[in-house]
Every structure is written in C-alpha cells, then in structure tokens.
C-alpha cells in the first residue's frame, strides 16, 4: 500500500506534477482509452468504422490463429521467465557462495545482452540459426550432422529457437537481481544452518531461496512482461512464420493494424495484452507479499 509521504500539504505540488502528467496523459493515457474505443469497431483505418461491440474480443477466443498467438506467448514465458530463473538461481548461488575471481567481469558479461538493441540481437541469432550458420557448424563439428536444419524455418523448432534467444538475454538480468538479494542475506543464517548440519542443497532451499522472494518476484514480473511483448525479435527473425508457428500477440497487433487493415482487432489484442500484463504482475506480487508476511 502506498502511505502518505512525510511531507506537509503543498499546493505547489500540482505545478511540479503537471508537465510530466500532460505528456503522459496525451501520449499514453489518452491512446489507451482510444485503444479501448477502437477495439469495439470493425475499422480498416480508412473508411468509416462499424460498431461491433465485443466481437473483436470474442474473436480472440474463437479465432484459431489468435488463440495460437496467445498460446505461443505462454510457451515463450517458459523460455523468458522460468528457464532464466532456474539458471539464474544456480549462477547467483555459485557466485554468492564461492568467492570466485572475476565476479565483476562475469556480472558485466551476463548483463551485456540486455544492453544490445534487440534488432542487433535478432540479426546475430539469425546468423546462428541459419542453414549455413554457426549452430549447424558446431553440430557438424561434433558429428551430429543429422540434427542440422534451418532452425527458424522449421515448424517444430522455430518457436523454441526464438525462445532460446529470450533465455539468452533475460538470464543475465535475473542473475544480477538474485545476486543482489543473496548478498543481503546475513551470514549468521548460513552459519546457523551449517551448525545444524545442513547440506549445501538444504541450505539453499532453507535459507537462500526464502530470502530472495522479493527479487524473484521482480525478476519474474520483468521477464514475463518481456515475453508477452516480444515484437522486434519475431519481426526480424521469422515474421511469425513458418506458417503462423511463431506468431505472438504483439506481432499480430502490428500485422493486423498495418498489414491486414484490421485496426479494431489489433486494438482489441493490445487491450487484452495490457490486461494480461496487469493481471500477471498483480498475481506474482501478491504471491511474493504473502510469502513475506
């Protein structure tokens, strides 16, 4: 809950908030309201729109292609959020526990993917996955030629291939966040566990994991939102293909509004995506709060 700040009543506050609020209202609040409005119409962006009520939302449930897009977003969540969490917990536990050399270097390196523009990331991974690309070269070098393929053009492997890119760039963020949480755990807790004869694994589940609940919540919130918002990566690597095997909601928004001239439908997907993001963040943070108290 947000309590009152310690300050005293001041009317001048409005003047300080006003400039930020004006830009915010004009370019964010108003457009989201307009998105809700547009989502109730069948509109091609040019002629007069036709009121269709909730039909665009009904289509998200009924339309197989759209359902698939939201399904793909769920698959991506496993790659963007769960895998980085599992790997990040391992890496952070190691870094926190063992006094390894080069901690600063390692932290800088794993965080680097977050900094590079997604378009560049996508170009690099396209190269890795190409039929004559680095991944196939590696597989060939270890004698697994039978596994080589054009990864992004493969109906079965295109979506996981996009997902692995998500794992690649979110793991560093998750690791750095968890490491911060773990370094705040008082060493006495570990010493107490040690005296009780706890194994390293027991210690991890009894001491480390409960102490980083807050960090896990932050990490999951950020990565789940990133999974739901995958646009640039899909736009550059697969454009939703092959078939619609990598279509995701944010790509559908773009494709429908500017490719197919279905602006109302695009707006409805945008609103649904926003609601999904709010709901998921709320649930994750609820869980974290409950765990704390």
């Amino acid at each position: 809950m947000i309590g009152h700040p310690p300050g005293e009543p001041r009317r001048v506050a409005y003047l300080f908030v006003l400039p930020a609020f004006l830009v915010y209202a004009a370019f964010l609040l108003y457009p989201i309201g307009r998105a809700v409005h547009l989502s109730l119409y069948d509109w091609d962006g040019l002629s007069l729109g036709r009121w269709v009520g909730l039909a665009n939302y009904a289509a998200i449930v009924a339309d197989e292609g759209l359902r698939a897009a939201f399904g793909h977003a769920l698959v991506l969540m496993a790659f963007y959020a769960l895998a980085p969490l599992a790997i990040g917990l391992t890496l952070a536990a190691i870094l926190n526990h063992a006094k390894v050399r080069g901690l600063g270097f390692f932290r800088t390196v794993v965080f680097l993917p977050q900094v590079v523009a997604m378009v560049v990331v996508a170009v690099a991974w396209r190269r890795v996955y190409a039929p004559d690309g680095t991944l196939n070269d590696l597989l060939g070098a270890v004698g697994l030629d039978s596994l080589t393929r054009g990864w992004l053009g493969d109906y079965t492997f295109a979506l996981p291939a996009v997902g692995v890119v998500g794992t690649w760039f979110e793991t560093g963020l998750v690791t750095v966040l968890l490491l911060a949480g773990m370094s705040r755990v008082p060493t006495e807790l570990y010493e107490a566990a040690r005296l009780d004869g706890a194994s390293a694994l027991r210690e991890f589940f009894a001491v480390t994991l409960p102490s980083v609940r807050g960090e896990i919540a932050v990490a999951l919130t950020l990565t789940v939102i990133a999974a739901l918002r995958t646009f640039d990566l899909v736009y550059i690597t697969t454009r939703g293909g092959p078939g619609d095997s990598t279509s995701v909601p944010s790509y559908e928004i773009y494709h429908r509004a500017f490719g197919l001239g279905q602006v109302g439908s695009a707006a409805a997907i945008g609103v649904t995506l926003t609601v999904a993001i709010f709901a998921i963040s709320f649930v994750i943070n609820r869980f974290a709060d409950r765990g704390m108290s």
Binding site: P31, L91, V120, A124, V218, Y254
Partner: protein, 275 residues
C-alpha cells in the same frame, strides 16, 4: 570451506555460461571483421592486422548509418533530457509533498510502467495521422517521453521519499524556495539515482523499434535499429556488411553501459526491491 572439486565445477559452470552469453555477440563482431562475403565491390577497404576494419566504412556508406545515428542521437537526447527533468520534478512532488488526489495520480503513473507500447502505438498512429504529425520528430519522441516519465516518476519518488528530511526543513527555514530546494539541496546527492535513470531511458530509447517503425516513413528520421532492419531487407548478398552495421548500431549503448556499469548496476539493485 569449499573443496577443490566444487571450486573447479563452479568455474566450469560460470565459464560455460559466460561463453553462451558472449557467443552470438562474438559471432557478429568476428563476421564484421572478416573479408567481405558480398557479391559487390563493397567492403574492399583497408585491413589492420588481418582484420577488415574497412567493412565498417563500407557499411556506413552503403547503409547510410550516419543519417540513422544522427536521428537516433537527436531522439535519445531529447527523450532523456525531457523525461529525466520531468521525472525529477514529479518525483519530488510525490516524494516530499502531500496534496489532494495524490494516490490516484500516482496509481495512474504506475499503470504506465507496465503499459506495453504495442497497445498504445496503434491508436497513436491513427490519431497523429489525423493531426498531420506522422513522420515527424515529435511522433517518435513524445510517446517515448510518456513511457519513460511513468517509470521515472516512480523511480525518483522512491529516492526523494528516502531523502534526508532534516536538510530540507533546514533549507526551508533559511527561506529557500521549493524550486531551489529541489535543484540545490535534493538533486546533487541524488546523482547516482539520476545516472541510473539516465542510462535506462537512454537504453530504452536508443533500442526502441516499434514506435519508429510505425511513425516514420522518411529516411532522414529513421533511427539506427530501424535503419538496420531496412538494411537487412535490402542488403541480402552477404553477412559481413550487415554484421558491421549491427556493430555500429549497438556500440553507442554498449560504450555508455561499460562506462557507467558499476554505478548503473548498483543503482538498479538498490531501486529494484526498495518498496
């Protein structure tokens, strides 16, 4: 104490992961420095110690990255300066003052932190088109100011709430105005928080793809990531120049990050789980 075997295993795991993190980046850097594999005469530039640095010049010319970097720089500079100043001001009000409607207003700003640009870009495009603002600097910059100001307000509010009340009171008793208290008393010690905010907003703005993709049609307004995407579509004969272009697009943020990463990661960690 940790056994030798465990220590070795730790290093193996960390090295393996560092390699995984660096591998695609190295792929692109190495390709950018290798002999040109394109069909055209491009990239025949000079090389230093076997590294074909001439590729960067060729990509710069053919891909017109000079133009794209210039507009990226203009947009980023505008978005960073405006949104950081506006965020400091609103964060100050939310963090140190009490006023009617405060929590409602603050919740409104909080909504913006999670709002995906995918949801607002479509209605914005059609409304700005009606206003004749499509394909202008403002149609790229202002939506991004709005997105950044939401986070910035939240970020600076958290900082100012924790700031030292006694100094503020002392300054007030000395007769300093609210404006002076903000800029001369509160802002100087807030430098780390402001640096982190600046790096984040710069990173987000420089790397933003969807908003420029939708809003801009003229080449002179294309930002660097957008230019790279178009370059990829046009230039299909080889990977060398595309890789060189990618390096050109990524470098400004990477340099910025490497310079400030100590402060930046520390600030990020302090802010992330503060409340």
């Amino acid at each position: 104490m940790i056994s030798r075997g465990e220590r070795l295993a730790n290093y193996v795991i960390l090295t393996a992961f560092a390699a995984f993190a660096l591998f695609p980046i190295l792929t692109i850097v190495l390709a950018a420095l290798s002999p040109d594999d394109g069909a055209g005469p491009a990239g025949q530039g000079f090389s230093v110690a076997g590294l074909h640095v001439g590729n960067f010049g060729a990509a710069w010319e053919i891909g017109r990255f000079g133009t794209y970097l210039r507009s990226s720089l203009a947009v980023s500079l505008f978005v960073v300066v405006v949104s950081v100043v506006l965020s400091i001001m609103s964060g100050y009000a939310f963090g140190t003052m009490r006023f009617r409607g405060q929590s409602v207003l603050f919740y409104l700003f909080l909504l913006g932190i999670m709002m995906p640009s995918e949801a607002i870009a479509v209605p914005l495009y059609f409304d700005l088109r009606t206003l004749g603002m499509i394909d202008t600097f403002w149609s790229v910059a202002l939506p991004q100011v709005a997105l950044s100001v939401a986070f910035g307000t939240f970020w600076m509010r958290a900082y100012f709430r924790a700031a030292n009340r006694a100094i503020v009171e002392a300054a007030r008793i000395d007769g300093a105005s609210v404006w002076r208290i903000l800029w001369q008393v509160l802002v100087p010690p807030a430098r780390p928080a402001i640096v982190t905010l600046t790096v984040l907003v710069f990173m987000w703005t420089w790397n933003e793809f969807l908003i420029p993709l939708i809003m801009v049609t003229s080449e002179s307004l294309r930002t660097a990531p957008l230019g790279l995407a178009f370059f990829q579509g046009r230039h299909t004969s080889g990977f060398t120049l595309l890789a060189a272009g990618s390096v050109i697009v990524a470098t400004p943020v990477v340099i910025f990050y490497l310079f400030l990463q100590r402060h930046f990661i520390r600030g990020l960690l302090q802010g992330a789980v503060r409340e």
